[in-house]
Symmetry: D2
């Protein structure tokens, strides 16, 4: 990156970091103790300020009101935002909306972009992505039961989904449904279709209680039924049979976003850990920091976080320059590597905090619980490791099945 | 153990296991989704049945209505009960009441036993133990700020405690307070005093939100203030300055109970993991069990659980025959060893369950969250490891400070 | 075990331990620096003394000059002997002779026992076991190329073996060779046949250089060719097609022996580690033992060694009372569990020794190198883990292939 | 780096890699089985060719016959050379000569450079560095007993050193000796002095047997006595009392060299592991590569090696631009991080090779043995971790002692 561009990015990052620390950290205690809902009004105000300050939607092109950052640049923004559980939402670049925006941007028709992307970009509505089904292993994304069959100019969609994140309060869902069950290749059977949530037959069964939290509104994960949901065929995203390809396309940058968000969490947890070690006395005058084991956790965490950031940024650069497909092995590598670093750093930070670490008086417990999923969602560690190995072993003339 | 005794124990264990599986497993879903409070009426009924069937309070002597088991025997009961989060409560051998009972049994005056132990043994009241203070490291139990000063025939107790488990709804607390601040040895300064919770000045500030749960009633951990709480000096347990010694005495068997309860959790998690592996398809006809990594998690978990049980039972035997002090190194070894086995087994079981593993549709998430504390409460891993090393290194002529 | 028997065992163990410490430790330096060969004369003398003191061949029945110990008892002897690399040899219970003795004892004809077992039991000759072939994975023991075809009253044996331990100087080999290639079940194709090493066509290609050591005599691992080796059919052990079954039978107790030997190594390494920590200064007056990380290694090692011993002794007891087959899962569990404990304990002991740890001035380096094989020989970790999982998953109605 | 420079580097790396693969790999078997000495003549020839091809001494400035690479560039050369145990020697950039060259280059007088650096740069002589003493912990480099006292224009040096690598056959040693024992700061007491090895009183006690190898010539580590060794004071490097500072300066780039060499070893081991997995059959038609556990080892190794390289190159860049002192935390981070990656990658590669992995038929065993030291030499993991933590905790206002 040229010096000037880099300077601009550093200035932006510093500004965003100030916002996160000064505006969001003070809200965290209420978020952790009372939930997301009570914060909606104040967050709405703050989102307006972000927009007014020209920091809104860093991932979106200027014509959609965003900053037009490259993936490499946005990745670094994502890290800073990740330091607070509320960061991405504040800047309107939260999953799953960010992924849906990207899909609509690349594959939406003009009508779809007008109707769905514009209000999403402005932060007026939220959306969700309905892919995973409780009956089938999420690690095998081509195995789906949800169907969308043609009826006249419409699709009739029937299916059962869960982990449809943020469905509660969403204006529309993008659903993966089998449209061409007879396609020979399993990954060519499904399509992505936009379903407004006020469509009759779209039913949220429950917000799933996850690691002790039912959640609400944006911070929730729903179980959803599609019961003969009728939507016009114009709601198809891309072409029929492209559902899996679009999902893959969506997941590439999505994993970069997640990984950098996790690194933001790591940095915050690391900071809390060091702070605690530097202030907590074990006995009068003896700091926790004097313990060699704590020192080593600090050093090991530093090493692992540094390694993670270098690898993720390198993957982002490759994606910017060569595209998602070229970077898919790097993506799989960071997906499992960083998820495990996150797990270990949080675990150490909690241990250093002792009893305080398991309370909700710090955000550590929230992340410890909710990011246990990091080793599972968007492909469990085990799948990504086998993907990496398969690619490498091809270079040795062997084609392993997954 | 002679053959006949062992047979009697096996019969008892089988009976208890049936109760746990048939009576408690079906209640877990409501417990996980709705909390402990809604179950109180049905648990009250079931507790009455347990009493009627002669299974009540296995740890207490017959004269207090219990089964009079040795520690070695009760340990095995504790494992079976540990398979459900509701097990120990059902049989009235739940912490912290069990530890308080043991204290009262060994050190209570007749009046104290009549007033506090009898209703506790009958399950009519609950109790709590107020030791840890937020201002001081729990890993250094001799560093306390809470004081109990003499005023006439009374103590006036002032202090701030937290992690006073189950204070919500408890009839009395046993509090650790400094009575002789000038004692030369730090571990001779505190005493244990019984404080009825309706004493003016006893105030529950809050049930601490822990890993996402505020909890309620028995399943809760309170922050408590003692504000010039006045109790008669007859409420002293044992002698002044013995507080720390009694706490140690209390913790010895307590750690055996915990370790065996954890093994029960491990066995349940192991069973859930195997069941999932044996039934979940990754693609039509391909079971999760066919994955070598899952197989290895099963084998490693089996090995670690077996190792844990053998070590805990050996420590229990030693405690029965030689006492708490003689077994203190073994106790420290199992405390950190089993807590870490528990952590790994739960982690693997969750990973095998995929998305389901992080929901509250199984008890795995509950344990994953609430037993993160196992590596912290009753002495963090780090303290127990140093205790073990100190003892061993003494044999090499070196006296390390902790 | 009854009190009296146990007392007798404890006395025996103490006596053997004294021998190991007083007679063998002083020889180790020469062994490590100059090799095994130079020690042969002095070891011969010491072996005679052992025999004279009535400690000889603890695993063999009295009629063969041994102590007639049960497996459970011998396991404990094996631990003590394992403290020195020369221990088992001194007492004539070294692998592979011990396994060969057991085979001859259970399955040898009278003639075979007279000719091969008797001198082995007396320590006059040594033997070897030729099973593993370089061309086939040792983890799949039923896949062999070595054949023994009938010619009149003889077998003509052709094959290529390696890791034929102690072939250098052995009087005979027991070889696994395919005798019935058409047997439907792969594990019924091979047989075990005794081949005197002076048989024409038996050729030691080399002592394989392993982890830097070519070795010599007993301490060596050969690559061997059988080139149309002719031996009488009377040299068959058991029946044709039983080779694999006998090998399994041989490996059961063999794994107990190994595991207990490894625990002996662990105890020695643990002792060296503690001694070093207790005496090595990092700066004037500051002992290595004062480092928390070293303390934790000591505690973790203690925990893991204790766990190992309890599990191995329990497996030995089960084998004594229920036989090899009943204990096969326990055997697989200890095989991988203890091999990994050994690996970690040695690694920590070396790290505590610093530069000294990687020299051959202590036995740590020898074990670190030569016991890297412990996770490979007699079945690699991966195979044993899958064996355990397969057995467990059968209980859940699933039959996984290995 | 500008595109053209980078292209030049890539061409150089490709050329060197070809040399390593075509010229050195074929020599490894003899090296592993017969030792270094027998290869000296052929290596001498090949060194001459390297010089003739203009690839000689990539780390040295052109005026000393080298390629004048930056540290960032040389690091990448070091990785390629590290793929063979003979790589660095062939190109005359082997430790400890490379460190000694750098010292002489920066701090040598003209006379010293003429007499010692010139022949070293030409590869006519070798040298050694005598710092570590058996009586003192190497992790505390300021604690030395070796002294150099003034006598007229000379130093009289007395001391006992070990791990004086490559002393066997070296023309001179640089020795760390206390010259100003009364300096208040312990790290200002020692100086570095050049001692030709033919100086009376310089005595090699032995080549230490390390992990089974006594070694010889360049591949050896000596125990050395300085017995009233007299050298002129003109042999002082830099100034009196600067010994420790120079040692630190020497170690900074040295650790980069080591780390990149280790990454080269990792890449070679990784390649061997993949090759083995891709060709070894477990049963007819079933490749080792089909095993999920092996696949995961491959993926995890790939991730860890990538992370290592990115961190080391970033540290090298920082050192090139900001100097050793500015990069010292990064250096400590890579020192322990990469040493542990190396350890794990080698361990996995060996396990994948099974029995073959522990033989000396591949270089894996050599590295497994000799690079066990990587977690110890140039500062054990434990010291580097505490160094990192100390630096970080300073930012939190705490000054921990090491």
């Amino acid at each position: 990156m040229a010096g000037e561009e880099d300077e601009r990015l550093q200035t932006l990052l510093a500004e965003i970091r100030t916002v996160v620390e000064e505006e969001l950290y003070p809200l965290e205690s209420r978020f952790l103790q009372e939930g997301f809902g009570v914060l909606l009004p104040i967050l709405a105000e703050k989102r307006a300020e972000i927009k007014a300050r020209g920091l809104w939607a860093p991932h979106l092109p200027p014509e959609y009101g965003g900053l037009g950052l490259t993936l490499y640049e946005f990745a670094q923004v994502s890290e800073v935002l990740g330091r607070s559980p509320l960061g991405h939402y504040l800047f309107n670049c939260q999953a799953p909306d960010i992924g849906n925006s990207e899909l609509l941007l690349s594959h939406g028709t003009e009508a779809q972009r007008d109707r769905y992307l514009m209000p999403l970009a402005r932060g007026e509505i939220r959306s969700c992505f309905a892919m995973t089904e409780p009956e089938h292993a999420g690690s095998n994304p081509v195995w789906l039961s949800c169907t969308a069959r043609h009826e006249g100019e419409d699709y009739l969609i029937s299916g059962h989904k869960w982990f449809t994140s943020s469905a509660d309060g969403a204006a529309f869902a993008i659903v993966m449904a089998v449209t061409t069950p007879d396609a020979s290749a399993p990954h060519k059977r499904a399509s992505q279709i936009i379903v407004p949530t006020d469509t009759p037959g779209f039913r949220i069964e429950r917000n799933i209680s996850i690691m002790g939290d039912v959640g609400e509104d944006y911070v929730s994960h729903a179980e959803v039924y599609f019961e003969e949901c009728r939507v016009p065929r114009a709601n198809l995203l891309g072409h029929e049979g492209e559902g899996f390809a679009l999902a893959q396309e969506r997941l590439g940058p999505g994993r970069i976003h997640h990984c950098m968000r996790w690194i933001g969490i790591c940095e915050r947890a690391f900071d809390l850990m060091c702070r605690r070690a530097a202030t907590r006395e074990l006995s009068p005058g003896t700091l926790l920091a004097s313990k060699q084991v704590v020192q080593h956790w600090i050093a090991e965490s530093r090493a692992e976080i540094n390694a993670s950031r270098l690898m993720v940024l390198e993957a982002a650069r490759k994606m910017d320059s060569e595209g998602s497909y070229a970077a898919r092995v790097e993506i799989s590598i960071i997906k499992f590597f960083v998820a495990n670093v996150l797990h270990r750093v949080l675990d150490r930070a909690i241990q250093v905090h002792g009893a305080l670490g398991i309370t909700d008086d710090t955000p550590l417990s929230f992340w410890y619980r909710h990011e246990r999923g990091a080793r599972i969602y968007d492909g469990p560690d085990e799948v990504h490791k086998s993907v990496v190995a398969r690619h490498i072993l091809k270079g040795y003339g062997v084609d392993i099945s997954l």
